[in-house]
Symmetry: none
Subunit: 418 residues, 2 copies
């Protein structure tokens, strides 16, 4: 039974007081190395329950990798629990003791007596030194050869131990023939179920590479994961599938892997020789923040206005007062006037505007909470506008409206006009 499961030990994890970032990091290292992770667990500082979980994992996998609970305090019980699970006692590892004393010396203080217990490891262990802390890690074996690896829970101690000691050992043990390589295809302007319908048969036909569809706040990603001996072989496996997926999703794909929608917009602006401005009401600065998150944003971004007050819409963006009075701030006319006004105010070639009701208050039967008008305008007067009704709380409306505005700008830059 190949593969491993991961166990994070610590009652604070069960209280939700700490987000466990160790487990995803270890999982990433293992999957990139081609070692399968079949499950991950968090469990409290309870000797019996840890031992029972270790036994369960070893009944179905080749190994268990534990983090946390190796410290000197009374609620650090991982080592004792592993001994219970495997029917082992502990023995003092002189080398571990010497190294611990050296670490304390480097801190300029003597080693407290209760740290001594950290140098006692399950009999037969292969110790892993900890240059960044006092608790050594170890790998220990069940009578049938399956293994349990234990590392400290402090990320700055665990990560170097994993990279320099555990991972090389695992690579040798499993000699994985293949690693997992991932390509992500990002889309905008098409829903998850539509994406799914268009590429559904590819899921069934393809076992390697595998395909997954993931929705994020108004965007949909398609993930292609190939198991291959090296990156060239992975590319050969991924490329034809990627082409087919992109053919089926033509017009919606804005980028790959680490590329963001803001990056895609910046590239399109650069190609068109345009600098953009923003005019925001309900998104309240988030659209500008998404654009300026990128390094080098200043090359394609002039600036923006957050026109919360109608007086600002009039004074800074030149929205006509009668239009505001007649159609209201949340209207096609005002969105378009804001976008055109931003082109003028910032001497920009193109501008994008948002005006809507983020909620929770301010909705009416005609203009409910979540209703947002968007407009993109060019300095020559070419304008498009859209109306969308978003569901969810204020933050969800603001976030999705920001994504939608970037998507609309990107589609406009690709030539979409209706």
């Amino acid at each position: 039974m190949a593969g491993v499961e991961l166990v994070a030990v610590g009652t604070e994890l069960l209280l939700g007081q700490l987000v466990d970032t160790n487990t995803p990091w270890i999982a990433q290292q293992l999957s990139a190395t081609g070692i399968d992770v079949f499950g991950t667990h968090a469990i409290g500082d309870n000797r019996e329950r840890i031992a029972s979980l270790v036994r369960d994992v070893l009944a179905r996998r080749d190994g268990a990798i534990l983090t946390g609970g190796l410290g000197p305090t009374v609620d650090d019980l991982t080592k004792e629990a592993v001994c219970d699970a495997l029917g082992l006692d502990t023995e003092l590892y002189e080398a571990a003791l010497t190294q611990m004393i050296a670490v304390f010396e480097s801190f300029g203080r003597p080693m407290p007596e209760n740290n001594r217990k950290q140098a006692a490891l399950p009999r037969g262990s292969r110790p892993m030194v900890n240059p960044n802390g006092t608790a050594p890690g170890f790998i220990v074996f069940a009578s049938d050869g399956r293994f349990v690896a234990c590392m400290p829970g402090v990320p700055s101690e665990m990560k170097p131990m994993m990279t320099a000691q555990l991972l090389p050992w695992l690579r040798e043990r499993f000699s994985p023939e293949a690693s997992i390589f991932t390509r992500v295809v990002h889309t905008i302007g098409i829903g998850e179920s539509d994406v799914d319908r268009r590429i559904e048969n590819l899921f069934r036909e393809s076992e390697n590479p595998k395909i997954a569809v993931l929705a994020h706040d108004g965007r949909t990603d398609v993930k292609i994961m190939a198991k291959a001996p090296d990156s060239a072989a992975a590319e050969r496996a991924i490329a034809p599938l990627q082409s087919e997926i992109e053919r089926r999703l033509d017009g919606f794909v804005y980028g790959h892997d680490d590329e963001t929608l803001a990056t895609a917009v910046a590239t399109s602006l650069h190609v068109a020789g345009l600098v953009v401005a923003t005019a925001e009401s309900c998104t309240g600065g988030r659209l500008a923040a998404a654009i300026t998150e990128r390094a080098g944003a200043s090359q394609t971004y002039a600036g923006g206005v957050i026109a919360y007050d109608n007086a600002v819409k009039i004074a800074s963006l030149g929205v006509p007062q009668p239009l505001l009075a007649q159609d209201g701030a949340v209207s096609r006319g005002v969105a378009e006037a804001m976008a055109r006004g931003a082109c003028t105010a910032f001497s920009a070639g193109i501008a994008v505007a948002t005006t809507g009701i983020a909620g929770p208050d301010g909705g009416t039967p005609d203009k409910p909470v979540g209703l947002v008008w968007f407009a993109v305008a060019m300095a020559d007067g070419t304008t498009i506008s859209r109306q969308v009704r978003f569901r969810g709380d204020r933050i969800v409306v603001q976030t999705r409206a920001t994504t939608y505005a970037l998507g609309l700008l990107w589609r406009f830059l690709r030539g979409e006009r209706d």
Copy 2:
């Protein structure tokens, strides 16, 4: 056997491509309610393995709470696996179907056929409606009465379902005798180790309530956690400790619990009868976004400018061209001129400005990456300014600079002038 275990479903979790924030959030809600969580798990989109884990959990606990894998795609298998584990088949829930069709209608498009399967739930389920998405949740029972609750994995859909539907049901089922009540004291302008030093002896003296110090992006929180049968008893335990902590941190405490720095600023503005404007360079809209995240922001926020280009600083904010040429955009003089210019441009009583080098490029020996100038100015000309050097990548600099700007505004409104 009281208590529950949590299961997050999704192969991407085992590949470490996604940090699971649902599980800690649910754990927090449960522990606050006094319901014990004995373990948490993540598992891939594999029908057999999900079913086997559900059976294992029900063998030792009263219930399992699952998130994820309820979508319409072929790799969403949670419902099928739960049916396998409990020996049930599915039946169509008309109410769930009606609600899903309504959600699609509000999106302005017909429901794709493959979404229909989401309205089929395990026989005997108690459905949980999903006003924020298409997949309904449900609670279903084993023949011995133990339960499995399933919710969508998208946080914006899961959280409202947990709060409004699952948690009240669990509270009734478990009738916990004592819950954990938490009070968070928020501070700004004082570091974690300073907070720690000032209240250190309170940690040792107090077992219930417990105290924890947590640092977040330039702010420091003190958390007081009391185990008590009801909120009145908790309040009696927390109040004296809270007073003592606040006495020791006098001048730095801006709020409690859900109060944000933006809320504290809004309250101070309201009391002072002022409306604020923003003028941002390096924070690129994040300061405005932090202010407008609050419902009702329009009452104390006029609007803002993102003055990325120097031409915008001159045209929209009236920053003198010679000042920009002589001192550079990242300087005390420009920060102060931006704040004063924003008061004028937005007819605001007070304004806050940021100008700095977010990086990774643009640093010089004199003005390194991370250097930011801040200014607060009132319409009458009263101005304060500060220079801070932040460490970290672009996003860290932008985030911390945003927090610092809000903190400076809050301190100014409390009368700090030097």
